[in-house]
Symmetry: C2
Subunit: 148 residues, 2 copies
C-alpha cells in the first residue's frame, strides 16, 4: 500500500464526507476561513437551515495538535470529526459526532446531539454561506472570511 | 454594427448586472428555476440578507411578452428590470427599479422602494440560495427548483 501524505488523506476524507452529506440532502462548502482565524474543512447546509460542521483529522498527530476545535461549535447545530478508516476511534470525544471516510465511501458512526443555533446567528451564517458559495461560483471569494 | 440575437443580449446584460451588483457587495445567482415555474435571471444576496431580483429584458417584445413579472416580487426585497442601452425606458413601470447594462458596464438608473420580506420567507430564500449555489459549485443543482 502506498503511503499517503497528510493533505492527500484530508482531501480524500473530505470528498467522502461531502458525498455522504449530499445523500443526506445537505449542500457542502469546504475550506472556510472563519472569523476567528481558523479554517473549517466542511460546512453543510440542510433544507431546514440546519448547519453541520465537519473537521477532518488525517492522523492522531493531526487530531492531537488541535486544542481549539470547540470554537467550531459557534458555527453549527451539529459538529463531527471525520477520520480515515484506520484512525483509533476511541480518541474522539463522546459528545461530538464521528464520521469514518475514505475516497469511496463514508458513514456516520456516531450522531451527536443538536445544539440549536440562535436565530440571529443562524441568519448570519446562512447569509455568509450563500455569499461565499455564490462568490466561488463566480470565480472568487475563496479567501473571504466566513462570519466573524 | 452586428445584429445580436436575443440570448446574446440577455447574456451580456446579465453579465453587466452581476458585475454591477458585485460592486454593491452583493453575490449573484443566475437563471433560477422558481417554484412557480418561471425562471428568474438574477437573484442577488447582500451582507445583511437583503435580496434583489433582476429580470433581464432584451427587447420591447421580450418585455411585452411578460405579463406575470409581478410574481417575482415574492422572492425579493427589491425588484429591477435590466435592459440594454437602446431600450425605451419609459415602458418600464415607475414603481420598480431599472438597470441599464451592456457587456462592459451597468448602472442603476432608478432605485426602487424596499418591500421587506417576512422573516420566515427570507429564511427559506436564504437556505435555497445557499443550497443552490453550493450544489452548482459541486457541479450539480442547476435545474433544482428554487423555493416553492
Amino acid at each position: 500500500m502506498e503511503t499517503q501524505t497528510r493533505p492527500q488523506i484530508t482531501a480524500e476524507v473530505t470528498n467522502g464526507v461531502c458525498r455522504l452529506l449530499y445523500h443526506h440532502q445537505m449542500s457542502c462548502l469546504t475550506e472556510l476561513r472563519l472569523g476567528n482565524g481558523r479554517r473549517l474543512d466542511v460546512l453543510a447546509l440542510g433544507a431546514k437551515g440546519e448547519l453541520w460542521a465537519v473537521e477532518v483529522k488525517s492522523s492522531v498527530e493531526d487530531f492531537r495538535a488541535d486544542q481549539k476545535w470547540q470554537s467550531y461549535l459557534d458555527y453549527c447545530d451539529r459538529f463531527f470529526f471525520a477520520v480515515p478508516m484506520d484512525f483509533p476511534r476511541d480518541l474522539i470525544p463522546d459528545d461530538v459526532g464521528l464520521i469514518i471516510a475514505d475516497r469511496f465511501e463514508a458513514a456516520i458512526i456516531r450522531q451527536c446531539e443538536e445544539t440549536s443555533l440562535l436565530a440571529a446567528r443562524r441568519k448570519k451564517l446562512l447569509i455568509s454561506f450563500g455569499q461565499t458559495a455564490a462568490a466561488r461560483l463566480q470565480g472568487g471569494g475563496s479567501d473571504a472570511v466566513f462570519v466573524t
